[in-house]
């Protein structure tokens, strides 16, 4: 890794950039909380993998934690992907549909 | 009876080709007015196909709605906006 920043540093630098100047504003609290939420939620989802196999779940959990540290401000990705652009939403719908059909047919 | 179903098969083959070509051609036009007319023509092919599928009432409805009403609404929209697709 090139960067030696901790997760906090990364998030803070990014939010300060986002707000533009003063690091403490109305929006920053929301972004910070949202970032933490996303991290915790992704870890929880990864831990749900224990249903299938516990060792694989542990490996997955560690991998997900590493990925989260690397991609640090997750919230920017979340916000960009849940944009209200019609074509982007339809793209995600098609992906979803394909995944659902694949998973259910495979589960048979 | 057998000749009837055989002739229906011929109708069906022609109409499947017509529907496919019509659908693709309607979406490839740059001129929106022409696209609306071609989608109407595709609906006529569909109406004949319904006839071959032993549903004459739907065939009649589809022929009227698909060739007059739907292109009419779309053409109204085109006249109120613009005729060609912008780049």
């Amino acid at each position: 890794m090139v960067s030696v920043d901790s997760l906090y540093d990364k998030i803070k630098r990014w939010t300060v950039e986002f707000v533009g100047g003063s690091g403490y504003s109305n929006q920053m609290t929301g972004y910070m909380t949202g970032e933490l939420q996303t991290v915790v939620f992704t870890l929880i989802l990864a831990s749900l993998f224990r249903i299938f196999s516990i060792p694989l779940g542990m490996v997955l959990l560690i991998a997900v934690a590493a990925a989260l540290l690397y991609f640090a401000p997750m919230i920017v990705h979340v916000e960009r992907e849940s944009s209200n652009d019609l074509n982007r939403v339809l793209f995600w719908v098609v992906i979803y549909f394909a995944v659902i059909i694949a998973v259910t047919l495979w589960g048979r | 009876m057998i000749e009837l179903s055989a002739s229906f098969m011929v109708v069906a083959y022609v109409m499947v080709i017509g529907i496919t070509i019509g659908a693709v051609a309607a979406l490839l036009q740059k001129d929106l007015l022409r696209a609306a007319f071609i989608s109407g023509a595709e609906c006529i092919a569909l109406a004949f196909f319904f006839q071959a599928l032993l549903a004459p009432d739907i065939g009649l409805t589809q022929a009227i709605v698909g060739t007059v009403l739907l292109p009419g609404i779309i053409i109204l929209g085109i006249f109120k906006t613009r005729r060609t697709e912008e780049e």
């Binding site: 749900l48 979340v78 979803y96 659902i100 | -």
Partner: protein, 515 residues
Amino acid sequence: MTESISNLWSIALLVTIPIFATIIVNLLFNRNRAIKYISLISALSLVVITILSPYGFQWFTGQPALNPNTLTFTFDASIPAWRMALEFYFGPLQQVLIFVMALILVLVIGIATNGLTKNQGPYIGMIFLLFMSAAIIIMVNDLYHLWIAVEIGSLVVVGVVAASGEGIGQKAALKYALFSALSGAGLAIALALILGLTGYSNISDAIRYIQTTNLAGMSSILYVAFGFFILSWIYAGGLVPIHPLKSEVYGAAFPHGTAMLQAQSKLMLVAIGLVMLRLFGSLPFAREVMLSISVLTMMLGVVMALLQTDLRWILAYLIVSHSGLVTVGISLGTYDALVGGLFQAVNDVLYMSVLLLGCEAVYYFGKGTSTKTAVGIAKKAPWLALAMVLGTFAASGIPPFNGFQSKIILIQSALKVGLPEVAVVILILSVTTFIALFRGIYSIFLKPAETTPLAVSGSVPSEAQEDDKETPIPRGLYLSLAILVVITLILGVYPDLVIRFLTPVAQAVSIPWYP
């Protein structure tokens, strides 16, 4: 329980009164007083019909089954016989959900007829049609009417959103209309597939056929139908890939319109969810897919709500994320979880209506609902601030309010099926709901109104003009807020008032997790 074989009178009335009200109100167009009285009387009659009606069926064709024990004819789904009917059913679940919807209808019409001055007739008509589509979809027991109600509902939602008259509302309406066209076609394909597979349109018949017949190679068709059903489910409730579009719809409509929209959306979620649980609940991976969608919805919705700076948009995203709670209950599918999910649907409609009507009241101060422009309203309207804070408590599940009761049932049922992660996600959701809502409410109501630097440099007359825009809040709005707050409090203290209506459905539909 004796069951009459003749059609129930109330079902037809519940569907036709809104239609007639729509037609009359539409013809009256701009005669506001007449519209007000006619629509209020129709809405109140709907409430009364829902309370007084017995339980029963309405069917259009087909045959009743012969009950072997009592030798009477019945349409009861548990009697093994083919019915082949297009049928509506009015039972306890339908009664409580339609009652809540009708209550919101009365309050919303009371507010809309006061606030709106232009094109009132068509707008009120569309609100009635919203009620009608929701009532049909919750009562229906055949795929044909299910699909029709979904289509009507989507068109009416588009109309209500476009009626807000702003650019963002029209954009949201067009996006939602395009997507609803897609998903409506998907639901029609699912209908065609199930009809082709089983030959029955009645849902009970189709389920019986699927259970008793060996589908062999044809069962993959059932999975494709499941996929299309999921498509219309996520569209009805704004679940995860659609959450930007649906929250835009909620945010762009008038807040009182949004109160109606979210109630309709919850009813659609419950109805389609129960149909999916009954039809596909025993398929492997089906409920896991539904559960994953609902968990993702809860988290993404609440995270997006944290990022907003406008109370309207905060509420829009929160509504989407809280519909995830309803679907968690339905997709877990056990008895407890179903009771929790259905109860959550009722509570959700009520406390979100409190917040939305409060949001509507903020508009009367003439500075919008953005947290940057509207500040210090608590001094001018202390009771409004109190109602909003109580609504926040209910939404985030703080004990004496109704949100707590349904969330605790959901958490316990998630723990009982061995999924503590889901319970943790529900907990995080309620805490974050509190943070997201209180961020908005603090800066709108409690933050002191400071003299902004712009006001110093700007001219004084503009400020005076801004004060002129401030209009007194109508009493009807305060009355509706008070009614809703009291109901949330009563349901929080006595949850059994609603839960006893939900248990029969939960017993009939529930499937154990990991059968």
